[in-house]
């Protein structure tokens, strides 16, 4: 007799647990507000990334096309996998001294791991992360970027 009661109890409890699960799923089915999908390409205009989001490394320039990079190469030393290459050149300044300035700050986005060490260790805060994340290109060479814009100059007063 007890076995029969247990048998029926098994069925009852089993069916009840199944119905509970179905209650949850059917409730979500009937509540379209709970949909969390973002319609990505459509919402590009309104999409706001979180401010610290690591999209790519950039070198901020001001209106006068000036940046902070002194070409010291600390970012290159700190980069764990050689994504940054700083090419500097020696120029003669107005007062006749020789000075090392940056020629090209090459950043290989394709192999960057976004560890953030370059941005953090830069002594003059020349680098920053941008939140741009759409990096897909058809040519791998396009992922090798020169961060300092052509004709840009070191901002006055940055150098120690």
């Amino acid at each position: 007799m007890r076995s029969i009661i247990n048998y029926l109890k098994d069925i009852f409890l089993g069916v009840r647990s199944l119905l509970k699960g179905m209650k949850v799923t059917s409730r979500y089915f009937w509540s379209p507000r709970s949909i969390v999908t973002e319609k990505y390409p459509e919402n590009r205009k309104t999409l706001v990334m979180l401010e610290r989001s690591k999209g790519e490394v950039i070198m901020p320039h001001n209106d006068k096309n000036e940046h902070h990079c002194t070409g010291c190469g600390i970012c290159q030393i700190n980069c764990p996998n050689g994504s940054i290459e700083v090419i500097s050149k020696i120029i003669d300044t107005e007062d006749g001294k020789k000075k090392k300035i940056i020629d090209k700050h090459i950043y290989k986005l394709g192999q960057c791991t976004f560890c953030g060490l370059c941005v953090k260790t830069c002594p003059s805060n020349a680098l920053a992360f941008s939140t741009k994340f759409e990096h897909a290109v058809f040519n791998k060479a396009l992922l090798i970027k020169v961060l300092n814009k052509p004709g840009s100059q070191l901002m006055k007063g940055v150098e120690q």
Partner: protein, 374 residues
């Protein structure tokens, strides 16, 4: 011809061998299990690893201690923060630096958030392994909220790279506390739903209760740590036994069960999510003020010697062993990863069970394959 007939008669030839993986939905990565079957019953499982071996330990030997951090992210990517933390703790221990309180609390908070998101993904993928695909989306839906918290503070979602020797990379975002509280409120609301869908489901019980039982002695001798070990009654929580960061000042229970089957391994993880929420509750309102990092020298040189540090990741005990010869790069780094140790018990657990149970047991041990191969 005769020889062939003879071969078929031997026992080994009668085994029905199928490959689960390297590309298989339920191995959660590139992992190959060579399964010998008799009918549907598993006779032997031979895991083949190394498909995603990247030589992280060797690479560490040529990187400075700051640079190692970003590689450790890529071992157990679901517990990236703990992987970072263990190296930082080892370096700090070697240098005998006093870490500010704020850093300790931040690290603990981040660790527990990481634990929640990792266990959520476990819950999600375990449901999917057993055939309930809806679980996966519910799990990921709620996990996104944690990842958003990470992104807001650290800039990375999964691969956070948030720690550095001496502290953390950036200060907490001003929204951090608000967001965490929002998440906890939401998560407390949906956890009963998780129970309705999976934990209390009768089919789920049938599939997991009594499947792949692991006794306490076996758990200790195989070195099974984390929730999988604690489900067998192995009290192995590093947070309790050897508190690091701010774990000595919070109260929480070590989730222990005696049964050690797949269901209790699952239950241990779900309960740990609740414990993690309690820990966060205790800390979130009293984050001490102070610096978020100790000023370190740009080049860190550890004194000559051997250093070991362990932390509790969502999958078990993660240890790092560093030998330093006084240079700016370590002489040798070894990681004692929980997944590698946990994998060793797989063959022992699945013998005699059905092939569907293999998936259930494999899922309940919650593997992250890149952590096994490193």
């Amino acid at each position: 011809m005769e020889e062939k007939v003879k071969d078929i008669d031997t026992d080994e030839q009668q085994e029905y061998i199928i490959n689960i993986g390297p590309q298989h939905p339920s191995t959660h990565g590139v992992m190959r299990l060579v399964v010998s079957l008799k009918g549907e019953t598993v006779k032997n499982v031979e895991p083949h690893l190394g498909y995603i071996h990247r030589g992280i330990e060797k690479m560490c030997e040529s990187l400075t201690y700051q640079q190692i951090i970003h590689l450790t992210d890529r071992m157990d990517y679901l517990a990236a923060h703990m992987n970072n933390e263990v190296v930082c703790l080892a370096v700090e221990k070697a240098l005998e630096i006093e870490i500010p309180d704020r850093v300790k609390v931040i690290r603990t908070l981040m660790s527990e958030l990481t634990r929640i998101q990792s266990h959520e993904l476990f819950w999600a993928s375990y449901g999917m392994d057993l055939g309930g695909q809806t679980c996966y989306f519910y799990g990921l839906r709620d996990r996104e909220m944690v990842l958003d918290i990470f992104e807001e503070t650290t800039g990375g979602r999964m691969i956070v790279s948030y720690n550095c020797p001496g502290g953390v990379m950036y200060d907490l975002h001003p929204n951090f506390q608000k967001r965490v509280k929002e998440f906890l409120k939401h998560f407390r609301k949906v956890l009963p739903e998780y129970d309705d869908i999976l934990t209390n489901n009768v089919i789920f019980h049938e599939r997991t209760v009594g499947i792949g039982p692991l006794s306490l002695n076996e758990a200790i001798s195989y070195g099974i740590t984390g929730p999988s070990g604690r489900a067998s009654g192995f009290s192995c929580d590093v947070r309790k036994h050897e508190p690091y960061s701010a774990y000595d000042r919070v109260k929480f229970n070590e989730v222990l069960y005696a049964e050690g089957d797949a269901f209790h391994r699952y239950l241990a993880r779900v309960e740990e999510m609740r414990e993690s929420m309690n820990i966060i509750d205790q800390l979130i309102d009293n984050i001490p003020e102070g610096p978020y990092a100790v000023k370190m020298k740009p080049v860190i040189r550890l004194p000559e010697g051997e250093y070991y540090q362990r932390v509790e990741t969502p999958r078990g005990e993660l240890g790092v062993f560093i030998i330093s010869d006084g240079n700016k790069t370590p002489y040798r780094v070894h990681f004692r990863t929980p997944n590698f140790a946990n994998l060793s018990v797989l063959n022992h657990l699945v013998k005699g069970f059905k092939i569907a149970d293999l998936i259930s047991i494999f899922g309940s041990l919650d593997f992250v394959i890149p952590d096994i191969d490193r």
